[in-house]
Amino acid sequence: MISIDRLEVEAGEFRLKGISFEVPTGEHGVLMGKTGSGKTTILEAVCGLKKVTGGKIVLMGRNVTGLRAGERGIGFVPQDGTLFSTMTVRDHLAFGPRLRRWGKKEVNERVEELATELGIGELLKRKPFGLSGGERQRVALGRALATRPEVLCLDEPLSALDEGTHEEMVSLIKGLVKDHGMTALHITHSRREAEMMGDVVFLLEGGSVGVEGE
């Protein structure tokens, strides 16, 4: 479960206070809100990338509020993929496992497994330059999933994709979250995307979060 309890975050002049919501284990939670409403700030706080000034973040029963980003067991997929321009696709998929000092064989097996699952086997030797939007997001997903996180955080992962690729990625991400038994927190400003993907949809409005439809 992703549990956010009375979260307080400050980012310069911007301040969010008393944010609470829960995404049940194994479900795909979508947090909707207008541009500038603070939804990315909340996601960054969950990922450990934004300092929290109050409240509690509990992921899969573990209080991670004071933990560093890498210690939270989260897979993070940013808006435009944010791939590392000097690394190959293979390096991207192997980045997390190598940091955790997995054996070479284990890393290679995981890379092949992810490449097959995400349909990017042909791209392993390529660098991000020249990859299409959909391919970039697949690589970003693979990089985030490589260490088998229990929680997946997605920051508007489909906003830069054309319609055809968008549909493709929606079913890919939904399938991955279900198949791997992950709990997802997904940020979007698109109601259509929220309806297509969310098991539970939250709306961030006027500095507070409510469950859509309630």
Binding site: E44, C47, G48, L49, R68, A69, G70, R72, I74, G75, F76, P78, T82, F84, S85, T86, M87, F95, G96, L99, R100, K127, R143, A144, T147, C153
Partner: protein, 289 residues
């Protein structure tokens, strides 16, 4: 014709003005270099030209220039990378002041930098010991007995004078480089399990490689052109602290304009070779990326 439709005036005057201003400045640069070349061709034979450059003092000056500029450039990059990163990524108390202080070597008159270094090393003392004396003691284990190690009027002064100015340019370059790299990459690396140092070495440094090369090249060429601080802090001692910029000065001061021009042309050639060489290397490096 409706009131909303207007006849748009020609772009020719605007584009013409851009081209004319650019051309004037380009002509000034090319004219300067051309004048040097023309003077050397008309005032001396090829044998005389190369004879000047083969002079043992000038050969020593070339060697010291290459060594000191390379060391200054390496030192500049080593210092500029962390400072540039700090300024680009972190907010801290007094940042504006720090930013302004880092520009001082760029805006200060070169002679003032030399004089300030001279005073810092020789006139300011802590517990009765000047920086010059302290550096002499620190260096003494690495020098043979009987030698007189130190900084002022010696090779370290040349390197320090070059570094003081060159590093400021390298810092500017590195800050711009890091500003252009999205902090998102580091955040992704942090989420994957990196600490800040790992994110810096694994993600930021490879992505900023082009900026590091530019900073190093800029520092190298800047160091080669440095004259004022070297003259005051290291002196222009033939065969000891003479670098190519001071050679030009020494040759002019003894009335040898031909010698000064020959050395100037050599400096121009070295600068062009370094700039083009680094660009070619960088292109090859980018192609491999």
């Amino acid at each position: 014709m409706s009131d909303g439709v207007i006849k748009v005036r020609s772009d020719v005057p605007f584009l013409g003005a851009l081209a004319a201003i650019s051309l004037m400045y380009l002509l000034l640069i090319v004219g300067m270099l051309g004048a040097d070349l023309w003077y050397s061709v008309t005032s001396m034979t090829r044998a005389e030209f190369f004879g000047i450059l083969k002079d043992p003092d000038i050969q020593a000056s070339i060697r010291l220039t290459v060594i000191s500029c390379t060391l200054s450039a390496i030192l500049s990059v080593v210092v500029a990378v962390p400072i540039g990163y700090l300024l680009s990524r972190y907010r801290f108390f007094g940042k504006t002041l720090v930013d302004a202080v880092l520009d001082i070597p760029i805006v200060l008159p070169p002679l003032v930098i030399g004089l300030s270094l001279l005073i810092l090393f020789n006139k300011v003392s802590l517990f009765g010991v000047t920086l010059e004396e302290a550096s002499g003691w620190l260096m003494s284990p690495f020098f043979p007995k009987g030698s007189d190690p130190g900084v002022t009027y010696r090779v370290p002064a040349v390197i320090l004078a070059q570094f003081t100015v060159a590093c400021a340019f390298a810092v500017r370059t590195m800050r711009n480089t890091f500003d252009q790299i999205s902090p998102r990459s580091e955040q992704v690396a942090l989420s994957l399990g990196c600490n800040r140092s790992q994110a810096f070495w694994y993600v930021v440094v490879p992505e900023s490689w082009r900026g590091i090369t530019t900073a190093g090249t800029l520092a190298w060429t800047r160091a080669m052109g440095e004259f004022g601080p070297i003259l005051v802090f290291a002196g222009a001692i033939r065969g000891r602290t003479e670098v190519l910029s001071t050679t030009v000065f020494l040759e002019i001061s003894i009335g040898n304009l031909e010698g000064a021009v020959a050395v100037s042309l050599l400096m121009v050639t070295i600068a062009i070779v370094v700039l083009i060489g680094v660009r070619i290397w960088d292109k090859g490096h980018q192609a491999r990326i």
